[in-house]
């Protein structure tokens, strides 16, 4: 089983990847790639929600700070994901995981369920992000198109991140 130390090293590496994506992977106005929601949802359940929110805040801020974006936008979008992490896991993966503070994985819980969790968390992140980024200046159809295009692209990234961060699948 992967240790907490390993998890946080991987987490930091993924964070650097996210910074790199933000700086170098400009894919147009309709597509924004993010690893952050999947990274936050994969934070071990032994870490409480307030601590998870603090990690999310710090992660978002680091990405905002080190990439040429709006400072605070990733942080503001990621905090709701952290706040809803337990709720999503409880709803889609079951109460047991929360009670046992167990970890989840694609192999143990099935790709379907995991992808639903990822879709939900990524949706929350994207909704807040697109809403704040548009600042009331973008038309509704543009925001909708951006949301669905980004959700589709990020679902693939989210499954990859889950695969990297959840321990059982790496044996």
């Amino acid at each position: 089983m992967r240790t907490g130390q390993n998890f946080f090293i991987l987490y930091l590496l993924l964070l650097i990847c996210q910074i790199a994506i933000c700086n170098y992977a400009a894919l147009g106005p309709y597509l924004m790639l993010t690893l952050l929601p999947a990274m936050v949802i994969c934070i071990p359940l032994t870490i409480s929600t307030p601590a998870c929110m603090l990690i999310a805040f710090a992660s978002g801020l680091a990405v905002d700070w080190l990439s040429e974006g709006l400072i605070g936008i990733n942080a503001a979008s990621l905090i709701p994901v952290a706040a809803l992490r337990s709720t999503f896991i409880r709803i889609f993966l079951g109460e047991d995981i929360i009670n046992r503070k167990d970890s989840f994985s694609v192999r143990r819980n099935g790709a379907g369920k995991i992808s639903i969790v990822m879709a939900a968390t990524t949706s929350v992140f994207l909704l807040v992000y697109i809403f704040l980024d548009g600042a009331g200046t973008r038309p509704f159809w543009f925001c909708t198109a951006r949301f669905f295009a980004s959700l589709a692209a990020n679902m693939i990234l989210a499954m990859l991140v889950t695969d990297i961060l959840t321990p059982d699948d790496r044996r």
Binding site: L54, F57, A75, A76, A83, A135, G136
Partner: protein, 274 residues
């Protein structure tokens, strides 16, 4: 356990709000577009809050507003009464000699102090009495008809039976020189009467005007009363004709009391011949 969960939820919510505010304030400070947007949103929110607060304040200050309005209403009513009094004086002054005579009739302008309209036995109190020359049995008229007969007088007031009273009739004539019959209130409508005992042979049409006949010691002749409506034959001998009155009894304010100066002599003569 539940209490612990509740406190945990509260802590989570507090941290969430704090972090979110921190992130949004950073966003606000670092982007012009977002700053303008936040500022607009904040103003809209504050406007709604202040508007709501003002509405609540207004609601609780309604009592004060009502008192102020009542006071203002009272002052306006006082002013109105003063103007009405002036108007009445001007109206009376416009008739040279408050009491005027025309033939045997003496006309006394007066105003109505009180009037009842909603019973089967209606009356009116007139603001002039025996000191002004009004006597029992005087008629009460307006420009649109005969409206009552004085039944009792005091020094300053007179009590008159309204035409809208069961058992009261006025002698009326169809047209200026047509057939004559008694006209009575129909007992139901505000502006309808019935002209009775019109002989079968008399020709008339709907819309013809009827006037006071002058065949009484109370009302002078030729005061327009109303127009004829539909008719029906009663007992196969006479017509009963509906009359649409000109006068709106709900809106009478000024009247003229008519006193037949030869009334007593006529009454005396009648009694002697009985």
């Amino acid at each position: 356990m539940r209490r612990g969960n509740f406190i945990g939820t509260l802590i989570n919510a507090a941290i969430f709000i704090l972090l979110e505010i921190a992130a949004l304030s950073m966003l606000n400070h670092n982007s012009q577009l977002q700053r303008v947007w936040f500022s607009r949103g904040t103003h809209a929110f504050m406007g709604a809050v202040w508007g709501g607060t003002q509405s609540i304040k207004d609601y609780f200050s309604l009592r004060k507003a009502n008192e102020a309005l009542a006071q203002e209403n009272f002052e306006l009513r006082t002013r109105l009464a003063r103007f009405e009094l002036q108007e009445e004086e001007i109206w009376e002054d416009s008739i040279p000699g408050a009491a005027k005579t025309a033939g045997d009739f003496r006309f006394i302008p007066a105003s109505i102090v009180k009037i009842s309209n909603n019973t089967q036995h209606n009356y009116m109190i007139i603001g002039k009495g025996s000191d002004d020359g009004i006597t029992v049995g005087s008629g009460v008229i307006t420009g649109k008809g005969a409206v009552g007969i004085v039944d009792a007088v005091s020094d300053n007031y007179s009590y008159a039976r309204s035409f809208r009273n069961f058992g009261m009739s006025i002698s009326a004539r169809i047209g200026q020189s047509g057939s004559v019959g008694p006209m009575e209130w129909d007992g139901r409508s505000r502006d309808r009467a019935i002209l009775k005992e019109i002989p079968h042979h008399v020709e008339f049409h709907e819309g013809d005007t009827i006037y006071t006949s002058g065949y009484s010691s109370i009302f002078p002749p030729d005061i327009p009363l109303g127009t004829l409506g539909h008719s029906k034959v009663v007992n196969g001998a006479t017509f009963e004709i509906s009359v649409d009155l000109f006068e709106d009894f709900g809106a009478i304010r000024h009247v003229t009391v008519v006193d037949n100066m030869g009334k007593e002599e006529m009454n005396r003569l009648e009694e002697e011949q009985r």
